[in-house]
């Protein structure tokens, strides 16, 4: 596989990741969100593997394996168990209606593209074109957290931001040193456990997972 | 021997003050009677009143404190001391270095301070009212008085009276508008300070109108004599102060005999004129309501400040 072919595959995968990010933004049903998130994790791990192969960086294989297990298998399973246990109703209302969110999303992609232009013309890596996509995924994840009212969707937004960051790491610098990769993975795993525990607490205290209820601590009176 | 002459002269001046003051007061009363068509009790009536009071017993309130009994002496002492300082006959007096005009005004303030306290000591409403009104008027009259005198002192570049007389009388004569303003305001202030008609009626017995009388209501016997005598001396001193500050031409420069004689003569003539002008003012005007007095004193204050400003601008 020549370098240019790998680059093409990588950019296809980047496009797919961006697609799933947009999908997450607009998807109403919670199971749909779960599946989209799993797909995004899969594309990310494949792209890491491809980059690892192209740049002969063997530690990337471990990192892609880590992403595969974590983002595609473990996290979706945890979320699936929680959703079943907490009997979350399927329909998710968004704070801002879908068309405007899409518009903002597109604006963010353009913004991140123009923003990462200096990095692109500096970077010698084959994957320099995908940095803009990585930044866009991060910002879209943030946008998703802002526009969603449900705790689970916020967590999925947070995790998709992490995916964006991992993707940025691989595309900008052929992946961070292994120690850092492992550390970040470990943190995400702990974060997963924590938000699981949180879901139970919130459910018992507020007996709903709607974030709008949680607005007691304010100083506007 | 020649050293002692100024001291003797100063003693003589105090004695003249002591005995001339009742005469001047008597003279003013008799003039007033003539102007109002009443038969006079004669110029010597004040002497007779004082002698009578000195011999009578004292009737004192139960709760009168030592301040009430001590005040007449302080008032008398401060006024006599002031008399020793003002150059009535000659300017070469040993005591004249003791106080300049500001200190002189302050001596009169001591008298008023203690009289006001005595007024409040007995605890009657009239005493309190007299003290309150007296101090209110005093606190507006005193600044105007100081301003009038400041104008004169700015003209003569000194605040000690003998120096001012020296500059005005024996220096070359210049017509100064600032002095005219100062004189006008000084006359208004003198009326207020000595408690004459437009501000306070010295001869009244209607409690609600009297200010100075209100404070000394409870006095009797020799205490009342001392206070009455001090009042008369204060009137006499204000007249001589006015003469010394504004018409000093007769006052002797050195202590030789002929100059003193001329000084005495000019003093008598000036006092005569002063008495007549005072009575003309008193019979011409009626006593003002208490809350008209601030405007009266305000205008005096205005004249004095105008005098000072004109000094800077014109001279």
């Amino acid at each position: 596989m020549t370098i240019s072919l790998a680059a093409q595959i990588n950019s296809v995968l980047a496009a797919l990741i961006l697609l799933t990010a947009f999908g997450l933004l607009v998807q109403r049903r919670i199971y749909g969100l779960l599946h989209l998130f799993a797909w995004q994790g899969l594309f990310l791990s494949i792209s890491t593997a491809v980059v690892g192969f192209v740049a002969e960086k063997h530690h990337l294989y471990i990192s892609s394996l880590l992403t595969l297990t974590l983002k595609v298998i473990v996290l979706p399973y945890i979320l699936h168990v929680l959703i079943m246990r907490l009997k979350i109703h399927k329909e998710i209302e968004t704070v801002v209606n879908v068309p405007t969110t899409m518009l903002i999303g597109i604006a963010l992609v353009i913004f991140s593209y123009s923003l990462t232009s200096p990095i692109r013309d500096l970077s010698t890596h084959v994957t320099k074109s995908t940095i803009a996509v990585a930044l866009a995924t991060v910002l879209l994840g943030l946008l998703m957290m802002i526009t969603r009212r449900h705790a689970v969707t916020q967590i999925i937004g947070f995790l998709s931001m992490e995916n964006g960051l991992f993707f940025a790491a691989t595309s900008a610098t052929y992946g961070m040193p292994l120690v850092v990769e492992l550390g970040v993975g470990l943190d995400i795993l702990i974060a997963a456990f924590i938000f699981g525990i949180f879901f139970f607490h919130i459910n018992t205290a507020f007996d709903t997972l709607d974030v709008e209820q949680m607005a007691r601590l304010k100083e506007e009176d | 021997m020649s050293v002692a002459i100024p001291y003797i002269l100063d003693g003589l001046q105090i004695i003249i003050l002591l005995f001339a003051a009742p005469a001047f007061a008597g003279w003013v009363k008799t003039l007033k009677c003539w102007f109002q068509g009443r038969t006079t009790a004669g110029v010597l009536q004040p002497y007779r009143d004082l002698m009578k009071l000195l011999h009578k017993d004292i009737v004192l309130a139960e709760n009168a404190s030592w301040i009430f009994r001590f005040t007449p002496y302080v008032v008398f002492g401060s006024v006599v001391l002031a008399g020793g300082i003002i150059p009535i006959l000659s300017i070469d007096l040993p005591l004249s270095a003791t106080a300049d005009i500001i200190a002189l005004v302050a001596l009169f303030t001591i008298a008023r301070f203690f009289t006001a306290l005595a007024g409040m000591d007995i605890g009657t409403a009239f005493g309190g009212m007299g003290s309150s009104r007296e101090k209110t008027i005093a606190s507006m009259a005193e600044p105007a008085m100081l301003m009038a005198i400041f104008t004169v002192s700015l003209v003569c570049k000194s605040t000690s009276l003998s120096q001012m007389v020296q500059v005005l009388a024996h220096g070359e004569f210049i017509l100064r508008p600032s002095l005219a303003f100062a004189l006008l305001s000084f006359v208004l202030i003198a009326l207020a300070e000595t408690g004459r008609i437009p501000v306070d009626n010295p001869a009244t017995h209607l409690e609600l109108t009297m200010i100075h009388e209100g404070m000394i209501l409870e006095y009797s016997g020799r205490h009342l004599a001392l206070i009455e005598w001090a009042g008369m001396m204060k009137l006499f001193l204000f007249a001589t102060l006015g003469i010394a500050a504004f018409f000093p031409w007769g006052i002797a420069a050195a202590n030789d005999f002929p100059a003193l004689f001329i000084a005495a003569l000019s003093l008598i003539i000036k006092l005569f004129i002063a008495g007549v002008s005072l009575v003309v003012i008193e019979t011409g005007l009626a006593k003002m309501r208490l809350f008209r007095v601030p405007e009266f004193l305000g205008s005096a204050f205005l004249f004095a400040t105008l005098g000072m400003l004109s000094y800077f601008m014109l001279e």
């Binding site: 200096p118 500096l122 550390g183 970040v184 943190d187 919130i202 | -």
Partner: protein
């Protein structure tokens, strides 16, 4: 070797306490662990003090004057906090506000949190710095929701989400930093090592560094609690148990600022302009003004002191942004005395709220008469935190304000306004609490004397007589940050 003991003791402590957290002797283990780490940190400090900064563990750890002073401070304050938490948590346990699992979780997470902070300070690798910061956040998230009340859970959730987002942005900044460093230092782990980065910061690519600094600033800025990224801080610091608030306010903010200043040194090296400083000054000033005005309307005692932490972190950030030897010296001193004073205040606040079973300031009265240590401790603590002279905070504010008056005189009216309003706000609330007769609903309490007295004496000593070694220590750190 000492580094390993430092990290090891706290990690193993966390593991042990995970199992025996609820036993009688659990607090004692907690204290012993912290005391051990404190001794280790002293040894470390002496070594750095004598033979300068050194690298250990095959370049994984790096300690210089700037990081070791924070290590000692962290160890000391965590030790005194464990001493304070013994009676406090026992009372919470008796009143049933914390269960069996809660106690075990509390002690374990406390030690893990200390471990994470030490890792942050000691590591040489900027990536590991990020991971340790994330670990510290995660450790304290559940501690904030220990009481399981709705508001506590809400505060913890906001803390988790907002800090998570902030830290993610910081990761992106680190990636950009790594990208720029890779150009100069080549592939592999060396590019992220702080020792290499600081030497080579002159050749790093300015445009990329500028972008990286923006992300790092917003990321770590969220952790420092600078306005407008501060919204999580008042909730998190006021809902958790008081020892946690003390440690959060006192230490975690310092470490976030430490990370931010490390990045600023790199960015200054490559950019050459005063850009990073100006951004930090902007954020600092905004924090001072917003925090001091919002203190005016607080009703909850811990929320008020959380806002005071935001204000003081704003002052420190402003001073670091200002740069120059005196301002940096002042900023370092300010971080030290602020964490000492704030943790001592939180100790007294903890006792005060336990005495009245509420955090409502309107219900807390007659503290001096009720419990002289808590009353005078709180009063003198507040006197210290608002910058009244005999205490250390005045010294640092004196240096910072005079430096500002020289270099940026136009900023001083805002500083004057901020400090004045903060002073009035704090005093207005604390004065009625401290004075007056004992209210009927106040019940007596045996307060832990040692930490409060220890902290106040230290601040007084630093305020009146700065020991020579401490000032030389700061000068070494100032050389690094120039």
């Amino acid at each position: 070797m000492t580094i390993l003991t430092l990290l090891g003791v706290s990690f193993i402590g966390a593991l042990i306490l995970a199992f025996v957290g609820d036993r009688k002797f659990a607090p004692e283990i907690n204290i012993v662990c912290s005391f051990a780490t404190f001794v280790a940190s002293i040894v470390l400090a002496l070594r750095v003090y004598h033979d300068g900064p050194f690298v250990a563990g095959r370049e994984f750890f790096f300690i210089d004057a700037f990081s070791v002073y924070l290590v000692v401070l962290t160890a000391f304050v965590s030790m005194t906090t464990t001493i304070f938490s013994k009676p406090y948590m026992r009372r919470e346990r008796e009143h049933g506000r914390v269960g069996h699992w809660g106690m075990r979780f509390y002690h374990a997470m406390f030690q893990l949190f200390i471990f994470a902070m030490f890792l942050c300070l000691l590591t040489n690798n900027v990536g590991v710095l990020w991971i340790a910061m994330e670990l510290a956040t995660l450790a304290t998230v559940l501690l904030v929701s220990l009481y399981k009340t709705p508001t506590a859970i809400e505060a913890a959730w906001k803390y988790f989400i907002l800090c998570g987002v902030g830290i993610a942005l910081a990761l992106f900044g680190t990636v950009l930093l790594y990208f720029a460093a890779e150009k100069v230092l080549g592939e592999g782990g060396e590019a992220l090592l702080w020792t290499n980065l600081s030497q080579v910061s002159g050749q790093l690519e300015p445009t990329v560094l500028r972008l990286a600094f923006v992300f790092l600033m917003v990321g770590y800025g969220t952790k420092v609690g600078l306005v407008p990224l501060h919204n999580w801080l008042p909730d998190a610091h006021s809902e958790g148990p008081t020892p946690i608030s003390a440690v959060l306010s006192g230490l975690l903010l310092n470490i976030a600022l430490y990370a931010l200043v490390r990045c600023k040194v790199l960015v200054d090296g490559s950019l050459g302009t005063h850009l990073a400083g100006n951004i930090m000054m902007g954020f600092g000033l905004l924090s001072i003004l917003v925090a001091s005005f919002s203190m005016l309307r607080q009703k909850d005692i811990k929320r008020m002191f959380a806002y005071s932490s935001i204000e003081h972190m704003g002052i420190a950030t402003f001073a670091f942004g200002l740069g120059g030897p005196i301002a940096t010296f002042g900023a370092l001193l300010h971080m030290l005395v602020h964490s000492l004073t704030k943790s001592s205040i939180f100790f007294t606040v903890g006792h005060a709220s336990q005495m009245h079973d509420t955090q409502e300031m309107s219900k807390i009265r007659g503290l001096i008469r009720g419990n002289p240590l808590v009353g005078w401790g709180l009063m003198l603590g507040v006197m210290a935190i608002v910058g009244m002279p005999p205490f250390g905070v005045f010294t640092s504010e004196f240096l910072i304000l005079t430096a500002t008056m020289k270099d940026a005189p136009l900023m001083t009216p805002f500083l004057l306004l901020g400090l004045g309003v903060a002073f009035a706000a704090l005093l207005r609330r604390v004065q009625p609490m401290v004075s007056g007769h004992i209210p009927s609903w106040q019940h007596p309490l045996k307060a832990s004397h040692v930490p409060v007295i220890l902290h106040m004496v230290l601040i007084l000593v630093i305020g009146l007589y700065m020991p020579d070694f401490l000032s030389r220590w700061f000068h070494m750190a100032v050389e690094l940050l120039k």
